[in-house]
């Protein structure tokens, strides 16, 4: 039996990465975490957004890595950056200062209002799984002008209630975020391997806005831990172009050659 992926000539992961990359506009400044966000942002830079300015929390501004970094502070980022500033400056002058157009975040758990958990599964004091923790996420979520969230969709990750709120989306919805006085607009899209979700005003609950080719509504429902809703007019995600796929695969091939194995996930 042929899987949908094989029949389509690209994987769900590739569709997710390419969809995320397309959301980045040329000339934007983008605060990038390691893993999927870094992959998508660099794909955008290598395709339609050559002047996308990539900022990594370790200090590089305007990094143009030829291969994907394994860690957030790889030498490749430092060597290709326009400049490198100290970490407090990145967070205080550049992110908090209001100069980041897009913040790109992943998560272990996410809820219907785009709040995320990267801290702990189970109780904080008696964790079932101790996750790496906050990193740059809480302030990226608060201060970037817009936030894109990017993670694989599953009922384990898309939960009705987070075990721990590490970083906020729209809290419990409505104007709750606005009342916090955050300077950034919050998450405007969740990009998954199945679809793109967008917040629906006025509740700001995330609903399915665009479905990737070959994916069914049923698949999305099953992969979501809450009763997921669909927008009135759901779009069909454009399939990857030849150029997008080629660039993405070249980037991953170069990276694999450099690091000796597939690019790992996680911030760092």
């Amino acid at each position: 039996m042929t899987t949908p992926e094989q029949s389509q000539g690209y994987t769900a992961s590739e569709m997710m990465t390419i969809t995320a990359a397309r959301l980045l506009k040329n000339g934007m400044s983008c605060f990038v975490g390691i893993g999927l966000p870094s992959l998508a942002a660099n794909l955008a830079r290598l395709t339609h957004a050559p002047d996308l300015a990539l900022i990594y929390e370790s200090g590089p501004i305007g990094a143009k890595p030829r291969t994907l970094p394994l860690s957030i502070g790889d030498g490749e980022l430092a060597e290709t950056a326009d400049t490198i500033v100290a970490t407090p400056e990145i967070f205080r002058y550049w992110l908090q200062g209001g100069h980041i157009d897009v913040g790109f975040l992943g998560a272990a758990q996410i809820d219907r209002f785009g709040n995320i958990n990267t801290t702990v599964i189970g109780a904080y004091d008696q964790p079932k799984v101790r996750l790496p923790g906050a990193g740059g996420a809480p302030e990226i979520a608060g201060s970037a002008r817009q936030v894109f969230l990017m993670l694989r969709q599953s009922a384990r990750a898309f939960v009705p209630t987070l075990d721990f709120i590490t970083s906020v989306g729209y809290l419990d919805g409505g104007d709750a975020r606005q009342r916090l006085g955050l300077t950034g607009a919050g998450p405007v899209a969740i990009i998954t391997d199945l679809c793109v979700l967008e917040p629906e005003p006025p509740s700001h609950e995330f609903v399915v806005a665009s479905i990737h080719p070959g994916v069914t509504r049923e698949q999305i429902v099953v992969a979501t831990g809450w009763p997921i809703r669909f927008a009135a007019a759901v779009r069909a995600t454009e399939p990857p172009t030849e150029a997008e796929l080629r660039t993405l695969r070249d980037l991953q091939r170069r990276t694999q050659a450099a690091h000796g194995e597939a690019h790992g996930g996680g911030e760092g």
Binding site: G59, A78, A86, A134, G135, P138, E139, G142, E261, G266
Partner: protein, 310 residues
């Protein structure tokens, strides 16, 4: 953490400070005591692994460790039983996954319980800035809506005295000792670093004592304008330890050993494997030079066997 008055008292008692060039063994012995609050900084780049090993060799106990990204260096110290408390903001193995020794200490109290004080990067970076600025706290736009302040009493919320806006405040971190690795020092003890700088300068200026390991000691630093330079008079000890950031990297000297970070996952996942590794590579080696020789041997043997057991 030291309260502000005691630091002021120390500053006013302090004589003229001037870096001494000494061995890493002497520096750790002189400045790092059991129970001390120690920051070993370096954001992926220039992580002072050699100094971490020396602390393990000298069997320091009950340390409060501060580091934005604990990384493999603190996984080793925690697994070796040196720490009772960790102040941090992201505790993973970058690009690989979990820090298993950190998780074992937190989830199962092995080899001893580890108290966590947990920040965001922006929060902990700001706490270092406050330490460097000799302020008791820093203000930031942060933590709004997050559960972190519920579990960290060193995060509070204050109001702007001009606009009444609510903002986060974090208590300053003021390490007893900060340890960093840099590319170069000159013979007077002036230190030059470049590339990814992390919070090293802030951590150095916030501390009572700063130990710097360097790739090399040179006659002339050859620094460019506005270089990240720490003058000898804010440094306590400079130790020449070539390769001392490995498996992290030193820009201009050597690259990050990503393979070691990947292999660490298997080493650290299991208590016995970890202990054997620590015994053979750290506790039974005299210094970082010997560690490096042993590591090369293990690595060559692993290559021969086609395994990842370093």
């Amino acid at each position: 953490m030291a309260a502000t008055p005691s630091r002021a008292a120390i500053l006013s008692q302090r004589g003229i400070c001037m870096a001494e060039i000494m061995s890493l063994r002497e520096a750790v012995s002189a400045f790092i005591t059991d129970g001390a609050t120690v920051a070993m900084e370096g954001f992926t780049h220039l992580i002072p692994f050699a100094a971490g090993h020396e602390v393990i060799r000298q069997r320091r106990r009950d340390l409060t460790l501060i580091r934005m990204t604990p990384d493999v260096i603190y996984d080793q110290l925690i697994g070796a039983g040196c720490a009772r408390r960790l102040i941090f903001s992201w505790g993973g193995n970058p690009g690989v996954g979990s820090l298993h020794r950190l998780r074992d200490a937190v989830e199962r109290g092995w080899p001893q319980p580890l108290a966590l004080q947990e920040h965001s990067h922006a929060g902990l970076a700001s706490a270092y800035v406050a330490g460097a600025e000799h302020l008791p706290f820093a203000v930031l736009r942060g933590y709004a809506g997050s559960d972190l302040p519920k579990y960290n009493p060193d995060i509070r919320f204050i109001r702007c005295p001009f606009t009444d806006e609510e903002l986060a405040a974090v208590r300053a971190v003021q390490p007893d000792v900060t340890v960093i690795h840099a590319q170069k020092a000159d013979r007077k003890g002036n230190v030059l670093l470049w590339g990814i700088l992390g919070v090293q300068k802030e951590a150095a200026l916030a501390a009572r004592h700063t130990i710097v390991t360097v790739e090399e000691i040179v006659d002339d630093l050859g620094a460019w304008p506005n270089a990240a330079l720490l003058p000898a008079w804010i440094v306590s000890a400079v130790c020449e330890v070539p390769g001392g950031a490995h498996p992290s990297y030193a820009q201009g000297y050597y690259e990050r050993n990503n393979r070691f970070y990947q292999a660490w996952d298997a080493i650290a996942r299991d208590r016995e494997t970890f202990q054997a590794w620590l015994q053979r590579h750290v506790l039974e080696t005299a210094d970082f030079a010997e560690f490096s020789r042993v590591l090369r041997e293990t690595q060559a043997a692993a290559d021969g066997e086609g395994t990842e057991a370093l």
